[in-house]
Symmetry: C2
Subunit: 371 residues, 2 copies
């Protein structure tokens, strides 16, 4: 029987994630697996906690990785924090914020939305008025909208939510590791991310963090969390208990990969990694404009690790992406939702965020579009 | 900074899972990652579906792997099938069946339990009477109880549940891949397992399968599944849609590992793999008895991939496990729940299920206990 794995291409991943991966991370993934209750493994979990806290600029004890992808992070934050009937405000300007509305609604939240167009950042004044005028237990937002390439000014929202006694939830799936993000200074109460974007590990894990106020709400729930797998009270007994209490069989090899990817970030230095993401983005933006392409998002609101490009009139979206993938072995992303067919999403995240990768893409696009 | 990964031991994993892993699976894990919507990746997903159906002896279309551990499989089966107020019967004789009660209860099921001791199989006549006398929408059981080492006669229960129009849910976390298990012939409607036991891949994935009748219940729900991440209607649009609809960023490298592990099983042949598990178990049972140790479970009801051994009087549980792990680099499992401190759990699953591994353990136990 032919092994399908032998036919997989090695692709330069410049879509909205997964991003390309440093060979050291692949090496880590393939180390011998170990028991999930082994003292060496729980020591590794301790290191992971510290490494994630450093990356998120938080002192939260409840900073761990979930054993699921970024989407499980969204699920976890909602299923732990939402209690039936809770008033929640979602400030939306893209696909993933709308997904948060769906997820919270399934769990019984009364979700009010404040909607902004899918190419602009949210408006702080309007958001402030809405928050002040309501009595929301939870307010949710996306930091870097993967569907549009917009970065939202979350740092201005957290303090407003805190003043009213609510909890501030942030989707940092695309932003964590490639952008300024200070969980504690910005009064974020619950944050989730993923392994496969700026952190530079393959997909499979979701780093999350909950503030003491968020954990207090969880511990004070009237009913149990309606999700055993993602119940933070049980997860913390495994991550922090003395002795550790078994909850699930942690995916050891993925944890190895995440540990290695985080170590590479800390070795390079968080500030330098952020600067590399910005420099790579600027190099890409200039190059795209040099090819006569325009970006969806206005300068100043662009996420420096995911650029959204308008597909020029007369150019067939899929033809270009197929040629990039087939001939040049480069993946870029399609538009999502209302932006499908209208934009490309070009990721420069994690190990992908290097000028030489951008040059490779720009050269390929020049060839294809110049035809 | 010291790399914690460099200090990890290479351990012979003879606990209740994870089991040791074939080097080819590690190699697969470290292949270059690829996009979750890439045609090469969705082709791999198609192969995974076929490979899992073959292993489960099922024709169910809805046979996929979840992007979470075996515990996410339990969660998924419950959150998709349980609707608030559903009458459910759980037939329990161990820790994991009791966990199923908790998980289903959190989701609003009215759970009735039929309890048996933690060392015996369930009694078919009593179960039959209970099922016939009730009107349960769902009936749940564990096939191979990881907490006790008992194998339950699930093949006799499915048809009884079907006669009454209910759906039969089976936990096959420890059994799938190492035991006779015929999903369709045995009238199982929903089954979940894990990657890290008899399948022989590291932890991180949960193969699941739903019968057409189970999918019908899910599609006919009055309310959405209260879990976006594990919603089978959305997952099937990603696994089976034309075109594929994005749902979450699949952990590509874990899928590679699972594919490779399943391929190794199919190359060896399912019947041969099963026979190897049985032969290894018998070799272990004889060896343990040769050392004067007795097994918790009566012959005839023993799970042939997880053996539970009574800890002899005067022997300190933790001292033995520490010496095994420290000096001999062998992991065995502790007792769970009411069996904590009373038994050891010795796994011979997947790549671990080889006589030479058993001999290594028996030699070490002889040294330690002979002191």
């Amino acid at each position: 029987m032919a092994n399908v794995l032998d036919s997989l291409d090695s692709v330069l991943l410049m879509g909205p994630g997964p991003s390309s991966v440093n060979p050291k991370v692949y090496q880590a993934l393939s180390r011998p697996t170990i028991g999930h209750m082994d003292a060496q493994f729980t020591a590794l979990m301790d290191e992971l906690k510290l490494s994630l806290r450093k990356l998120m600029f938080t002192n939260n004890e409840a900073t761990i990785t979930l054993s699921g992808t970024g989407s499980s992070g969204m699920e976890a934050v909602m299923c732990n924090l939402v209690e039936e009937g809770d008033q929640m405000l979602m400030i939306t300007n893209g696909y993933f914020a709308e997904r948060m509305v769906d997820v919270a609604g399934r769990l019984g939240a009364q979700v009010d939305t404040l909607e902004f167009p899918w190419r602009s950042p949210i408006d702080v004044d309007q958001a402030a008025a809405k928050i002040k005028g309501g009595s929301y237990k939870l307010v949710g937002m996306v930091h870097g909208e993967t569907s549009t390439g917009v970065i939202n000014p979350i740092e201005k929202i957290g303090p407003l939510v805190a003043q009213k006694g609510g909890l501030f939830i942030v989707d940092a799936v695309t932003s964590l590791g490639g952008n300024e993000l200070r969980m504690d200074d910005w009064a974020i109460d619950a944050l989730y991310s993923c392994s496969q974007k700026c952190i530079g590990c393959p997909s499979g894990l979701s780093p999350v963090s909950f503030s003491p106020r968020a954990m207090e709400k969880i511990l004070g729930r009237k009913k149990k969390v309606p999700n055993f797998y993602l119940d933070m009270t049980l997860l913390m007994k495994y991550w922090d208990g003395s002795p550790r209490a078994y909850h699930h069989t942690a995916p050891a090899n993925m944890y190895y990969g995440l540990y290695e990817a985080l170590s590479l970030i800390h070795e390079e230095g968080i500030e330098k990694v952020k600067a590399r993401h910005i420099a790579t983005h600027e190099h890409l933006a200039a190059g795209l404009q040099g090819l006569g392409l325009s970006l969806l998002v206005e300068k100043g609101h662009r996420l420096p690790n995911l650029s959204t490009v308008m597909i020029p009139e007369g150019v067939v979206d899929l033809d270009v992406r197929k040629e990039l993938r087939g001939t040049y072995k480069i993946e870029i992303g399609a538009g999502l939702g209302v932006l499908a067919g209208k934009i490309w999403r070009i990721g420069t995240m994690g190990h992908t965020a290097q000028k030489e990768h951008v040059d490779k893409l720009l050269g390929a696009l020049k060839d294809i579009l110049g035809k």
